[in-house]
Subunit: 279 residues, 2 copies
């Protein structure tokens, strides 16, 4: 692991790092905020998965995460959203919703993506091993959140790994990629036409198939341009109701899909995670 | 005035606007955050002047200003740092510290800059008139702050306009442009070689020449790469001591010149302004 930058901020250190990932076969960049803490102590860790077109930088610069993480003593990790670099396939038309910046947190099985697009393994295995080794994290106290495509990632990764995360939340997540155009394109492109292979990457399908979390928190802007066609928050509400899955799903009037929305509720989410991570 | 964008954030509206400026003779872009407020009420306004290379966007995206402004009921205005567009002269070598993005809040007298580089008039007259007309501001309750070149702007504009601002602060300001390379280049380039013309754009010289403020707040990172050669905070401390000018100048260990530093102390500054703006 190599340190790209380190800046003191809010009584902690905001770092950016890169490493060679065995999962993706590429160099990957990520950011970590570590609040000041007593030597030898280990802190809970909150994973934040970003949305389409983003890198680690968007939430790191615009997320307004550090004051709350410093207050609660939580380490905040922000990975990239896809493999990048020479030899990494992209959308043939360069679209924003597939390929670079749009890994959808899956292990691709279709060519030419299967070689590098292994973001599920990267987030579930490769990066956690590195974080556990290099940072003062208590891996028994992990939380996960994310935005949009990253909200989809947070929900599906938590649902597939019961007990691993003490807390799960999301900002404007894609709740049912099997039922929206972004999801059809991504899951079809990375996994092929067999929809049976898609279901483990769909939060609503996972809940319908029996996966459960202790609870979950979702904030969704009512003025979000993607709400009706892509995000479909009501499908998650309905799946949770059917399954008896505890869920706090809050519709926020006037808010859109941007970091102006995310940053508004970031401190709320961090406090919600902190309550569960400190138990 | 034309609205470029509006996003709901932290219980208010973050807008970006553009207008045709009579001061600069160009189209100018700026941002304004307006917290929700009772109809018909007017709110105090805090001006934030940005540093070299910045536009309104840097502080708007990375400044972590909105939670505190919403809490205290303060309107936050962030102008651009220079005229821009067709026919606006730039540094002949395209350097970052002169010309575009580096107006230094002066009225230029030297060609080819005299035509458009009138950022003093823009910030002191043109934009305030527009803001007073278009937004629910109480112009009897104004505060001013800024970063680096913008800290220089905030200090000098407040010192030259006694009574106009109830509160003045700065983040890592250039305190004495007459005594640093950035200042020599900018004041020489915009105003010519006569140093008598420079003194009204130098906070330390203004204080030495009798200008006073009720008090002022400055935060400066000790790990700021520009501290020794360009910012020279000690010169402001010495000028204030000589003059009996009340000043709270805080050196912050480990912090650098970036928005990671600014965002850390933004809420502190806004609270400091709020105390004075609500009297």
């Amino acid at each position: 692991m190599e340190q790209v930058s380190a800046n003191r901020s809010h009584g902690g250190t905001q770092g950016v790092y890169k490493h060679s990932s065995s999962a993706t076969g590429t160099e990957m960049t990520f950011s970590v905020f570590v609040p000041d803490h007593a030597p030898g102590t280990k802190l809970p860790v909150l994973w934040y998965l970003s949305g389409l077109t983003c890198t680690h930088a968007n939430v790191t610069e615009k997320g307004e995460l550090r004051a709350a993480c410093a207050q609660h003593g939580i380490i905040f990790v922000a990975p990239d959203t896809s493999p990048r670099g020479e030899g990494v396939a992209d959308d043939p038309d360069g679209a924003y919703d597939f390929g670079l910046g749009a890994g959808f947190y899956v292990n691709a099985t279709q060519e030419p993506f299967a070689r590098h697009y292994r973001m599920r393994d990267y987030i579930e295995q490769d990066l956690p091993a590195l974080i556990a080794e290099e940072f003062p994290v208590d891996m028994d106290r992990q939380g996960i959140t994310g935005h949009s495509m990253g909200g989809h990632g947070a929900l599906t990764i938590a649902l597939r790994n019961p007990g691993r995360f003490k807390s799960t939340s999301a900002f404007s997540p894609i709740v049912a990629p099997m039922q929206c155009p972004w999801g059809h394109k991504a899951l079809g492109g990375y996994l092929g036409p067999d929809r049976n292979a898609w279901a483990e990457y769909d939060a609503c399908a996972l809940i319908d198939n029996g996966a459960r979390l202790p609870d979950l928190l979702v904030d969704q802007g009512e003025a979000d341009n993607f709400l009706g066609e892509q995000l479909k928050t009501h499908l998650l509400q309905e799946a949770c109701t059917r399954a008896g899955q505890p869920a706090t799903i809050r519709m926020q009037p006037g808010y859109d899909h941007s970091y102006y929305f995310i940053s508004t509720f970031m401190a709320d989410h961090i406090a919600w995670h902190a309550t569960r991570l400190k138990q």
